[in-house]
Symmetry: C2
DNA sequence: TTATTTTAGATACAAGCTAAATATATTGCC
DNA sequence: GGCAATATATTTAGCTTGTATCTAAAATAA
């Protein structure tokens, strides 16, 4: 029996409750009349919906604001309904090869606790890795003054392909074992729902939420540190592809003037070493190269030129096939990468007929955790009426 | 006032009617009990919905089938509701630079009329172009034994970027003028709703519907005749990008071993000319090259090898960034391209870590019109309850 | 105090669905 | 042909959610 969800009268309440909740979440506090105007429902219905949401814990009724002499309101004072941002928290995880960072946020996305730990080594057993991740989560929750019982969802980013259903591509070495462990481990330990995603995809979510891609529906975020990786949003949705490998940059091996999917930091080291170093004497770190260039060092400036053209070619390849409105360069090197922007922007039209706007992420290291928080919030918002707010 | 669609009790009927109609469209004829099992609704509701759909003209009640002695059915005979595939027709247009083809289909997608005309020249004025298109439509409708009044929607494919809203990228030369003309012209002439799309995108719709990509959600169709162009579906949705230019192949200019976005037919001519021709004596058409190769001609075979590797590189580039499950080669050269498949499949793993299945389209020249019909049907199905079937 | 304004709450009713009882049309058996 | 069994159809009462309308309450302004 296929049983394709029949629409019963209860669906109406569900739909209207979702609409009201979404609006209240957006404005933080609303009156019945505002909600009537928004939804087109009558007052009776709006009030009924709000009482419903109050009893479920998603909104609370707040006192009248003290009467404001500058802006006196006629008429009977309205009841005021506020989004209960303390109905629970979400966790955003950035699980790297070397380090894991956790951020705890309330339901409006304000980060209220953080923690970070490095792994003892890269090849530690899955069990130890999970222990460290669990530790980071608990530390972050403690820093936020809350506990595991109040977590409504966990977003987690890893540097491996993850498909639409949150499964790690099995062809990847140790991650596959690790993944299965993480989701069920956190479920078993705390009852948490873990939403696994590729880190570049989460970066795209984060950038669109609180970065330079705010509100852009066709957005690509390039994580450009050690290795290039792209998170692609089209029409406001993340692209995954069949096995979650969308946004992988292996094809750059074949692109003239690019030749590899090495990131900006990796290349800065290599190229400065080849030059004998910007101030001579071996490879320099990426920040050093950018510093030297800012100071006028010609060798460093040449590296920047070369890097700009290379990035322009990378971005043009993506722009041609995906046609984003904007490409954001993010990751560890994002701040320095600002120096590349003029060069990239100038070179782009040579390589593509549809050059996107190019910007640099303001989110820094937090880009993945911000996206992970957003991912978890999206889940909570979409499933609010099926989730029991933690009391 | 934002007025975000309130859910009234009428919405329930709408949702349930959509579900019932979708199911009946799939199975062609259904009984009340089947629909109860499918939707989970009670018989009373199912019957009410069906009566509704009958009065709107979307379904019809059909007589009992003559009692079948091999399979006698106990109990009171069920009323049988059938999809009214003759509630109207849709038009699918393939508007090329040189030729326009129209297909008329009933609401189950069976093509019941076709027509095709060439333009007098490529640079004729927009007005003349529209006249020819209109003529082709009317001829196809006549061939189908129906008339303009019964057209519920028109899908139209053109070889230019078209954004999500059906607007042609304004940077394109004469198309922009042409487009505005086409949509409003057909609206004015016949009251038709025209859904403009990029031809490769429609090819992808067609291939997923009735081609070798049936049911594949992450699918790329490469139109590979004169110029390469891709229609990309991810998670069952067409990718457009900001200005509709997603799937453009300009970046191939930068890809080693590819170098241009020339199609198979164009390259077969050029390469055979460079060789002095497969049987000597100047350039040969693509079909000729494939023929000669099949006959064992070594020069032609060499061209095929070269072509296979080149296509493998093209497909690998896309596979890396988009990660489709399958890539279909379509367009005028599709039939001959079968000879390239073994070579492409063998070469792919050298160029990408996520090689897709590669096939050749069985739809031949009709690939765009089939997709255009599907596009129009999608529109009709999504908007059935707001559309008045043509009586 | 009194009028005005805005929101709140209560009552009557409509749309759509469920559930349960009753009616109808067919098969199969005597 | 008559009757049980079976599957479907139809009717009736009741639930949920919504609208529409009327009256009450709480504030400002004169």
């Amino acid at each position: 029996m296929p049983h394709a969800a029949a629409a019963t009268p209860q669906l109406l309440r569900r739909v209207n409750a979702q609409a009201v909740l979404r609006h209240i979440r957006g404005v933080d506090v609303a009156t019945g009349s505002e909600l009537m105007a928004l939804t087109g429902l009558t007052r009776a219905s709006v009030i009924a919906v709000c009482e419903d949401l109050i009893s479920r814990g998603w909104i609370v009724e707040v006192d009248q604001p003290r009467t404001d002499p500058d802006n006196p309101r006629k008429g009977r004072p309205a009841r005021r309904f506020a989004f209960n941002r303390e109905a629970g928290v979400v966790l955003g995880l950035d699980i790297g090869a070397a380090t894991t960072t956790a951020a705890v946020a309330d339901l409006r996305g304000t980060v209220i606790g953080r923690s970070s730990e490095s792994f003892r080594a890269e090849d530690i057993p899955a069990q130890e890795r999970i222990s460290v991740i669990d530790l980071v989560c608990r530390q972050a929750l403690e820093a936020a003054g809350t506990g595991p019982g109040r977590v409504l969802a966990v977003g987690a980013g890893i540097a491996a392909p993850v498909d639409r259903d949150g499964n790690v591509l099995v062809t990847q070495r140790f991650w596959s074992l690790f993944d299965v462990g993480l989701r069920s481990a956190l479920k078993d330990l705390h009852g948490w729902t873990v939403l696994l995603e590729n880190d570049a995809n989460l970066a795209a979510l984060g950038e669109r939420w609180r970065g330079s891609g705010a509100g852009v529906d066709d957005l690509v975020v390039l994580l450009a540190g050690e290795r290039l990786g792209a998170g692609v949003m089209e029409s406001g949705r993340l692209l995954h592809g069949r096995g979650g490998a969308a946004g992988e940059m292996g094809f750059l091996d074949m692109v003239e003037g690019v030749g590899s999917s090495d990131g900006i930091a990796a290349l800065a080291r290599r190229w400065s070493a080849a030059d004998g170093g910007p101030s001579a004497g071996g490879p320099a770190s990426a920040p050093r190269v950018f510093e030297d260039a800012a100071a006028g060092d010609t060798a460093a400036l040449a590296i920047l030129d070369r890097m700009s053209e290379r990035m322009a070619r990378v971005i043009a390849s993506i722009a041609s096939l995906i046609n984003p409105e904007q490409v954001v360069i993010g990751g560890a090197v994002a701040e320095s990468a600002g120096a590349l922007l003029p060069g990239i922007t100038a070179a782009l039209p040579r390589f593509t007929a549809t050059p996107p706007r190019v910007t640099v992420s303001p989110l820094g290291d937090a880009i993945v955790t911000v996206g992970a928080v957003r991912h978890a919030l999206d889940y909570v918002e979409a499933n609010a009426l099926d989730l029991a707010p933690a009391g």
